[in-house]
Amino acid sequence: MTAVIDVHELTRRFGRFTAVDAISFDVKAGEVFGFLGANGAGKTTAIKMLIGLLVPTSGRASVAGFDVLTRAEDVRRHIGYMSQRFSLYEDLTVRENITLYGGIYGLSDAEIRGRGDALIEGLGLGHASLERVAALPLGWKQKLAFSVALLHRPAVVFLDEPTSGVDPITRRQFWEMIYAAAARGTTVFVTTHYLDEAEYCDRVSIMVDGRIGALGTPDELKREYSDATLEEVFVRLARPAA
């Protein structure tokens, strides 16, 4: 399988502080890749470089086959993003947000309508589609944001802590949606603090102090460190740094 995300010695410095220190990894098409790390380990900085919000200091990376430094615009066309902070427009309705992003990504009017309908029905938001997003509870907002990120059927979708603050049932539903997307061939690059969720991923990496401390499938990592759960692996790796 081809690498949809290919990262080689990617580095980002802020003055004398090195937030991301020459990380290298790759993610294959259709994978659900968990990008873990403690707060301040450099995860968000790394993601921002991959999605074109931050210029790398050195190293290279390519997403969906395009170099993030030189072909950023092409990268943007092929990715979806769901940020940690809810970033759809709260003063617009569900339908209006969908229409906006559909249009921005170049979908035709018919596509916008069709996919919009499907999205709304799929989420069970039929009754609320004409309501302002601000009125939705948090869990619904997150699911909506995720769905909108997928609207234009990108090759890769980046999710930054998509389930924080959300109840367990919604979390479960969320992961069902992630699996469904992966099954369709979308690569899912997700960060999370919930390590039980991390067990659902195909592979995970754990960032420690700007470096990749571990990389592999959940089972591989548990075997390597002789821990029963990923949480124990994580704590073992991340603790000396904390």
Binding site: G52, S87, E90, L100
Partner: protein, 383 residues
Amino acid sequence: MRALRFLLRKEFLQIFRDHVILGMLFVMPLGQLLILANAATFEVRSARLYVVDHDHTPASRGLTDRLAASGRFVLTAASPSSARADQAMLARQTDAILVIPTGFERDLVRQRRAEVQFILNAEDGAAAGVLQSYASRIFAAYSAELSARVTPTLASISARADLPPRRGGPIIEIRRRGWYNPELEYLDFMVPGILVVLVTVVGTLLTAMNIVREKEAGTLDQLNVTPIRRSTFIAAKLIPLWSLALLDLALGLILAHFAFGVPVRGSLGLVFGGAAIYLLAALGVGLWISTIAETQQQAMFVTFSIVMIYLLMSGLFTPVRGMPVWAQWAAQLNPVTHFIRLIRTVLLKGAGPADVAPQLAMLAAIGGVVLTLAVRQYRKRAA
């Protein structure tokens, strides 16, 4: 370009759902125009006069009567004490003091020349100068009247054009015309300017806070990861407020014409054409600030400081030509200066495109520069 359509839709939806913005855009400027248009005048109404007459002769009383009869001065007190008059002025109970010394009439008859003291309260500035010129005219007219009585064969130096010509000395008769504003209506002059000010302040503020607000809300990043072009983004931010500001201006002009009687002697099309370009420049500055500022508070502060400087240096309140040379040069960079000049000359003087071409050119140039800066400054990707 299609993306622009969708972005515009979103911007308009957001504006129309936001009562605060709508209130600011329409209620505030128009409401304030109504009040402030009445306030913005240097016209001097009747001034209170305190007379200290030491002479008590027909001549001195005649002078006092002339001043009172002119309608410009209201006799509020008379006393033999200068000290009391001074106190009254300190206590803001009088605006002017006339002191007529003893021997006034005697000097007029014997020496053909007499002095009086005229003291004005210059605390509030401009009024004093205007009062002085009123008074000068009255003194001169009274002088002429007395001259005619004292030496009937001599002509008088006066501004009263209705005096019949007499043999004797030379007379220059001055016919006056005040063009464009014969009634010296302050409203005609100030209202268009105030309207421009109000629309500019509101428009620039709102534009400046716009991008920063998305930054603060977190929705800006979501847009930055999309393939939207920078110019598209800036255009989407500019066009909605620009069109609403233009509408605002139109409403204001209607109000100005029908409520205040401001004349419309030139082409309205020219005014709006100029306004369209002007607003691009003015709002463009707001946008540019928005791309630099980190928080709404910063955006607001910087915008306000700049807008305030604009306004005070634009020739709205004080003439540009009265400013020192360096300030006049700075005023050339100020879009408000050019637009106010344009709107005044078109509305009051009926100026045509050729007459205001320099202003249009400057506005277009400033707008071009500012918008280019805004587009350049806006980076989707942090360095």
